[in-house]
Amino acid sequence: MTAAIERRAELADVLTRFADRSDDPQRAGVDEIGAICFTLGDEEFGVDLNLVRQIVKPPPLTWVPRAEPDILGVVSIRGSVVTLLDLRQVMGVEPTNWPRMARILIVELEGEPLGLLVDSVTHVRSFTAEMLEREPGLLGGSRGDFVACVARPGPDDVVTIIDLDAVIEQRFR
């Protein structure tokens, strides 16, 4: 568990550093971060590559009464019970029917697996420091806190990197 916490702390650190470096052109481009990118509605999002253990097709879902509304239920992944979080609700994306391309990202946080349901997984991308921009201030309220940074690899290409730590922090603690 400690290892997981440390890794997360490290990640948060890296992300902050990158965000900071974008202001400092001299130090930019030294390193890269890898992210698994996916869609929620029409938008593209990403999470740190190192946090994702597995990507699976959604198995049969069991609804859990009395759980928070953005928890879809539990699924069985390789013999263990994994809570499935509706990332669309968390990020405030309009709900539609789940497309056939929907996938579950299994991430491990504090030693516990958590499933994130996304509309489709696009690809693994790496972003250099100068592509990263600190939270642009477009998103107000609690959801703004869930954004680690925004990557702009191209003029029409925007990927919002989600700070899973913050999501968990607010949702479960």
Partner: protein, 727 residues
């Protein structure tokens, strides 16, 4: 050294860790015994020796695996223990504290290495060097001191030279000589025990005589002798420091081929022993294959050699046991769970076949095989369950060490009594139980037991008592923590609860004694006037309660002001696999643990009476409150209680409640898997179980539903007590 073993696989590392863990546990236990003995007088030198040897093994093991901080720590500690066991450094409580601290640190290092599977993960731990420094900190001074005490004592008591011939003295190791001197200083009577053993069984016989002599004296050494002429027998002379009189020794040796001879000061003792040529040795030393004299040239070297050979021996497993990762057992249990699904499918086919083809040979055969399968499967399940069971003793020992530490930190004298240490509980439960118990016991010492002044004026013995008791009760294990402290002040508890906003003032007035007591389980409530390092921050009892609830257990508190408090934890013996009833609620399947269900009833809608906004039925003259699970789950099914509906009468302790379900499917053994912390809001489920085809079924936590349906939690704090602390 570490480089050579970077290739050691994770399995080898796991083995090392669990072996090291065992050794560390033993170290701690031995230290506890030494600590207890130190309070009475003097610790058993054998125990000190045991700690020394354990540390030595730990050093070799950790060196081999390249866990540097551990081998460094163990090495320094071994040297320290060597000083202690040779009497160069007196063992006192302060030194013992350091030793206890190092056991803790070793556990921590092992934990760090285990979690990261990286032998160098704990390399940066600064506490190691701090501790090592403290080992050496007071090293020089007592050493000189002891030199003095040696000289002075020689005048009072017999010197070894006066009693034993030089031939014998020469072969003693430094440690043996130290023990000899120590005993002589005390004026202990020395004697020989002449005995003979069959060569073929000598190791067993030696052990047995060691065992018999232990209570009456301390064995200084064994000397093989030339006496006796039988070729297949070996005569052994034991030099024994006799604690009691000769009678007790005779009794101890009854039935053995052994003679006792007191060792009196020798006639020529005034003559320097080395020069004496004509002394008649009381014991003649026969040189056996590895010449004992050789070792006597340099007793330290001999000692080192012997110790290293001991370490080699202890690396091999002596007992007929295997250590198994609990996860492997979990996997096996999962397989059993899946087999149970297969079995019920076969059962169903068998029934269908019988219905279809009547009592044909084939259907009878299938039925027979199926029931055979059923029996074997039950045996397999029992077997695996048995393997998972471990006695509570190990955890209790850890708690005892913690009690020692805490009571010293708070300077409270605590008498810690344990009973029922052999009560067996599922390993997983034990793991999860240790933190809550630790918390409860800390509370008992910190807030329960009063200071010495207060106790004296209250007419209580100054020494407080904390008792930890465990026993099995049917399918449950009961663990009690009882203290003879000040008890819980209910008035103050209510004040605090209101001040912290856990309840309102009006709510506080209407509470029964029992409900008042349960306030301690609300978040943020603590009766402690001062917050200490150890407890009193009011985060705790709510977490304790949640942890125990997540194990399917309940915690109850009884307390009387001025007399003391008692926490009673009731837990299922195992969580691994339980018989459950599969039921349907609003179209979904759920499992209800069978041991919480007393009976299932048919109830028609017209029998339901509403009393004070609660639906009830009358069962054998008693009112049974109903909980409609569909409503409880937030998905009310339109319509009345239907034909298929059943009321499950759930009971837990004194509480009874009727759970209304839409239909019963049947009974099945289920393997409960925990829900993640992310689902702590759904506290009415104790877990989920796989019933085949990747389909999960939630397992109802009947206790939580009863609590929620009737208890304090929902009405007073919005049903969200469990979403509290996870820190």
């Amino acid at each position: 050294m570490g480089d050579g073993n970077k290739g050691a696989g994770p399995k080898a590392l796991q083995e090392f860790l669990s072996e090291a863990q065992d050794i560390t546990e033993n170290l701690g236990n031995n230290l506890m015994t030494i600590d207890a003995a130190l309070k009475e007088g003097e610790p058993d030198p054998d125990q000190v020796n045991e700690v020394f040897r354990g540390m030595h093994t730990l050093k070799s093991l950790s060196g081999m695996f390249g866990v540097k901080p551990l081998s460094r720590l163990a090495h320094s500690e071994e040297s320290l223990l060597e000083e202690i066991r040779l009497g160069r450094r007196p063992l006192d409580v302060g030194l013992l504290d350091i030793l206890f601290e190092s056991v803790e640190l070793i556990t921590k290092i092992l934990g760090i290495v285990g979690e990261s599977s990286d032998v160098s993960a704990a390399d940066g731990l600064s506490r190691v060097d701090e501790l090592i420094e403290r080992f050496g900190g007071t090293k020089e001074e007592p050493q000189q001191d002891l030199g003095g005490s040696f000289a002075s004592s020689a005048q009072r008591a017999h010197a070894p030279e006066e009693l034993l011939p030089p031939e014998v003295l020469e072969v003693l190791t430094e440690y043996e000589e130290h023990r000899l001197r120590t005993n002589l200083e005390r004026g202990t009577q020395l004697c020989y025990v002449h005995t003979r053993f069959d060569l073929s069984s000598i190791d067993v016989d030696l052990e047995s005589i060691k065992h018999k002599l232990k209570p009456v004296g301390e064995i200084i050494t064994y000397l093989p002798s030339t006496e006796g002429d039988e070729p297949d027998k070996l005569a052994i002379n034991v030099i024994l420091a006799l604690f009691g009189d000769k009678r007790s020794l005779e009794e101890a040796l009854e039935g053995l081929d052994a003679q006792i001879e007191r060792i009196e000061p020798r006639a020529d003792s005034s003559v320097p022993p080395r020069v004496s040529g004509d002394s008649v040795p009381a014991v003649e030393v026969m040189s056996l294959e590895p010449e004992p004299q050789e070792g006597a040239e340099d007793s330290r070297e001999e000692l080192a050699q012997r110790e290293s050979s001991e370490a080699l021996v202890s690396l091999r497993s002596v007992s007929q046991t295997v250590r198994v990762d609990i996860r492997k057992l979990d996997r096996l249990m999962n397989v059993v769970g899946e087999l149970a699904i297969v079995r019920s499918a076969i059962g169903r086919i068998s029934e269908e076949l019988r219905a279809l083809s009547g009592r044909s040979d084939l259907s009878i055969e299938l039925h027979r095989i199926n029931s055979g399968f059923d029996r074997r499967l039950a045996e397999l399940r029992e077997g695996i369950l048995e393997v998972r069971m471990v006695p509570l003793g190990q955890m209790f020992d850890r708690l005892a060490r913690m009690v020692r530490k805490v009571s010293r930190e708070l300077s409270k004298d605590i008498h810690f009594v344990m009973s029922g240490t052999d009560t067996e509980v599922d390993k997983l439960i034990i793991e999860e139980l240790s933190d809550p118990l630790m918390h409860i016991i800390r509370n008992a010492i910190d807030h329960g037991v009063e200071g010495a002044e207060v106790r004296r004026s209250a007419g209580k013995p100054e020494r407080g008592t904390v008792a930890l008791t465990a026993y099995q009760k049917g399918n449950h294990v009961v663990i009690e923590v009882e203290d003879d402290g000040g008890g819980i002040d209910l008035e103050r508890l209510v004040e605090v609860a209101i001040a912290r906003g856990a309840i309102t003032e009006e709510q506080g007035e209407g509470l029964s004694q029992r409900e008042l007591m349960n306030l301690i389980f609300l978040p943020g409530v603590s009766t402690a006037r001062t917050t200490t390092e150890i407890s009193g921050r009011g985060v705790g009892m709510d977490v304790v309660k949640n942890n125990i609830a997540s194990l399917g257990g309940v915690i109850e508190v009884q307390s009387e002001v001025g007399i003391g408090s008692k926490m009673t934890i009731t837990l299922p013996v195992t969580l691994a696999i339980i018989p459950a009833l599969l039921v349907v609620v609003a179209g979904n399947t759920y499992a209800v643990p069978l041991n919480t269900i007393a009976e299932a009833l048919f109830v028609s809608e017209h029998l339901v009476r509403t009393i004070m906004a609660t639906e009830t039925v009358v069962l054998r003259g008693q009112t049974l409150p109903l909980v409609r699970l569909d409503e409880f789950f937030g998905v009310p099914r339109p319509g009345k209680i239907g034909d298929d509906s059943r009321v499950l009468v759930a009971s837990l302790g004194q509480k009874r409640i009727g759970l209304v379900v839409d239909a019963l499917i049947g009974q099945q053994d289920v393997v409960i898997k925990p829900l993640g912390r992310s689902l702590s809001s759904a506290d009415c489920f104790s877990g989920a179980t796989d019933i085949g085809k990747e389909q999960l079924v939630l397992v109802l936590d009947t206790a939580a539903v009863i609590e929620d349906g009737r208890g304090l939690a929902e009405t007073k704090v919005d049903g969200r007590t469990s979403a509290g602390e996870w820190a």
